[in-house]
């Protein structure tokens, strides 16, 4: 397992002293060295597992998951990451709990955490709420730990909020790094993060926001394109601008899918809802105005329908670098003629990229595991070396 030495040397070169005991809310709160450490540990854990070496650093302990929206891949990624490290998942199903009985966030957070090493939360439906909720939970358990109620302080991992979808964007980015053979090859590469038509509405903004918030840090040209009216959060636009300036990259915005795709090395066409509409919806829900919500839905679907040309077609793909940009999607995609009549992407394009798409998704469990590992483990290099030298088989037989 000489390869472990390579990962360890990579970590040696990074300043990651701030990660121990930290939570993961937004990628842009992490330094570039820290971001690179997550990739390094994710790859190291993956290599060990591929080599049938157990990476269980916990003998017992719980990973608490709280999904306030349906989820398949993030749910299973979180479950896989916990299992890989030795934690058992306990789902906090709000329907089965007493949370409705007027219990505070602070109380629930403490009550489920007596033996919790990590808490993963998806809360992406309402603008201004999800990320704030996660911080409230993280603050509560930190206090609980300091007060001596909790024997360990659970790490908070953002499994998608109203602002960012860090486990997704980080997995996407690791896919890009591997595809292009290292971050040293990314300088000047162009990625098109574009809106695309979908017959559904209200898809979260956290994917495009997560992408422009992270991928502007690698010296790439990041082109955000969407129809007028589909703006994302202004704060994240500012983050992307700052990142691009700092990394020697470029961040552009336009209302043209064609412009974004032109000579792109990577394309990420995906539907999302207008930020302002989501803000309005949040307020309507807050006011319990169900008629208003229905009217808004109708309005948004009609607005979407004006932009059916925003589809990732074969013709558009031909305009990318040598006609073979890397196509990304967080899945599930709305595939024209397959999952809907008219959608985000042509069936033939999607089909050609199926294998890379699944590979893209395969990074998520390891990214989440790396987030837990680097928050929990005080001396990551030492622990990786010990896991390798311990050499306990993952599968015995």
């Amino acid at each position: 397992m000489a390869y472990i030495g390579n990962y360890i040397r990579k970590l040696d070169a990074l300043n990651i002293s701030g990660l121990y005991g930290s939570d993961f809310f937004l990628t842009w709160e992490k330094t570039f060295d820290e971001i690179m450490a997550f990739y390094t540990v994710a790859d190291a854990l993956r290599s060990l597992r591929e080599d049938n070496v157990s990476t269980k650093i916990f003998d017992s302990g719980l990973g608490i998951s709280l999904f306030r929206d349906n989820s398949t891949r993030t749910r299973f990624s979180f479950g896989s990451a916990c299992n890989l490290l030795g934690l058992e998942v306990q789902d906090l199903d709000e329907g089965k709990s007493q949370i409705a009985h007027g219990e505070t966030v602070r109380e629930t957070a403490n009550m489920v955490s007596f033996m919790a090493d990590v808490i993963g939360i998806r809360d992406d439906m309402y603008i201004g709420k999800g990320n704030a909720y996660m911080r409230e939970v993280a603050k509560a358990v930190r206090e609980g730990f300091l007060d001596g109620n909790l024997e360990q302080c659970p790490t908070l991992v953002n499994l998608q909020c109203d602002i960012d979808h860090p486990t997704q964007a980080m997995a996407d980015m690791n896919h890009i790094i591997r595809h292009f053979g290292g971050i040293e090859n990314l300088k000047g590469k162009k990625i098109a993060m574009t809106w695309a038509y979908s017959p559904s509405y209200g898809k979260p903004l956290s994917v495009p926001q997560g992408v422009i918030g992270l991928m502007t840090r690698f010296g790439m040209e990041v082109s955000l394109a969407h129809p007028e009216g589909y703006e994302v959060m202004p704060e994240v636009i500012e983050v992307a601008k700052r990142n691009a300036a700092a990394s020697g990259g470029v961040f552009t915005q336009s209302n043209s899918m064609e412009e974004a795709f032109k000579n792109a090395d990577i394309v990420y066409p995906k539907s999302w809802a207008p930020f302002k509409a989501m803000e309005k919806r949040t307020n309507l829900y807050g006011a319990g105005d169900m008629d208003g919500i229905k009217a808004l839905e109708k309005e948004l679907l009609a607005q979407n329908a004006n932009h059916k040309k925003w589809e990732c077609t074969e013709n558009l793909m031909k305009t990318t670098r040598e006609g073979k940009a890397l196509y990304l999607h967080c899945l599930p995609a709305d595939i024209t003629g397959v999952s809907c009549k008219e959608g985000e992407v042509a069936a033939s394009v999607f089909d050609r990229y199926r294998v890379p798409l699944y590979k893209e998704a395969s990074h998520k469990p390891y990214i989440i595991a790396a987030m837990i590992f680097l928050s929990k483990v005080k001396h990551p290099q030492k622990t990786l070396a010990e896991l390798a030298s311990r050499g306990k088989p993952r599968f015995f037989g």
Copy 2:
């Protein structure tokens, strides 16, 4: 643990090279040697556990379960089998997932399987659908493995489909083998697989089909009996005929419960729905014809009510071999005067067989564990020997 040597010698005598990496869809796709290997490994794992020896061959890893119908015993049997081998169960609850968002089977199968070593599926409601769905999942994850998206190829275990209920029939058969002291004592024994009245309708055909598809392989006389109109799938009838011919046994069909019970060594009276009605129901569901479904339900209940005499009574039991045939049921049974007014079996008969019935059910976790074990482990004899010599206690204290 000298007994482990006996199991290993039994396996040495069998040709089981085809099991490594294989899925389990239908018992009749397995050779007789392979079937015997499942019993041998199931018994070996059970002996080790009874001897407080850990049989965990996985240090981490997931067992994915997907139940498209309610389940108690199969759900807990799958969970027990996974736990016994060291896998953590993750339930793919379709209600909590994004599957409804138009995602393909291929995609979901890959997305949940990045760290899955086994996938267990129950999908028994619609004729022509369940087994086909399982094969689609198995094909998808095999491709995902070959494409390098999945680091391991999960084994597919059929936890009940429209055609077969292999974990049930295999557990039932192991109960029979143990009861009669070995397969060498089964030649010429008579088993009556008969329909029985139930006030509910639409019970799956997979139990009688599984029984006649498996038990005809042991040289027994298998008598299938049901009222006219309650035919099972013609393909499975053909399987039963071929099996009986090949094993030197007999397969008979009749419309008389009395004839089937006469001199039977084993009786398995159980309600099921007519194959043609289930096919019709599948089409009605496909067409979304809810009125048609309601009408069909009414018709089927009325049809059932014509056959209330199909009950396993004390008088019928007296006509079996020496009046003491082994009574089998997959549970739960419709017990006359207990769980319903008129049902499949008299309360006194059921009560007399309660202990053997629970023993029958107790084999299922081990059968499922054996299915996983023989698909995953390359050299089963060597691994069994190692588990025994490792001698790690299952319970320490």
Copy 3:
């Protein structure tokens, strides 16, 4: 880990030979020595975990949970306790099972228990039902074990019934013991277990009953107070009287919150439903009389509203011993102005006790683990010594 020696010596001084293989239904069925053994083992397991020593006594095995009422903290406490000892939780979700299909308790209990080491049940809704149900389950699995269907006999742990809430009362009591520095300091201390106003109705009686049934055993003065008409079960009153007499303590009853609080060292103000009303409700449910239930709800809410003065205010707290009684609650509490307009406790009182309240709750996982441990482990002192000397890290890294 010299401290383990202290716990072992404490156990040496107790007669606990009756605990091996026993279930936990009601605290008053346990001897005082046995009760002290649960605290000793709970504290020992907690010390080991705090010292990063693994307390897994199971290499595999299942803990079955059955919650017939919503639950957050008891659910997570049970899950934490199982995880701490090495058991995987499998939830018996009656909605997903076939239990509705007329299956008997005896059958279900056996069917889920083939690899179960413990069964935890919450069933607190109907008077005369919950505890009886638990005993039926325990009897069924004991028979299943004796019949050879189950390889091990699962321990039954009462996670709240109609009579007692032993894991709650035991955790509360351990909090008291630690707060006052040992049971030797409890003699003569006064605890007020009082009703308090809540805008909801029908809260279980098991908390006050559990408290008076347990805390009367320590030579304390236990004062039960509630408005007229809010009587608890007469049987438990008898238990409390007997306990107080035997322990040299006092048990008083009154209709005055003021009287109970006066000079109290500990206060436990909490809403509950009148026993007779709950009995009536049970009968109405039994008869399917939904109109009767609605009428009863209305009547009970109106009755509650007559007693809004039963609130734990700052003024009342001032009347306790030196104005600083230890405030207890099982949580979640109805906090005036926070979770409801008028409730059980003033916000400022609750807030001042938040840290101790969470500490109180933190004992529950360890209490449950101790219940499992002492039922499963034949020689508790030896096993604790071995866990300490084995010194396997809980977290490796």
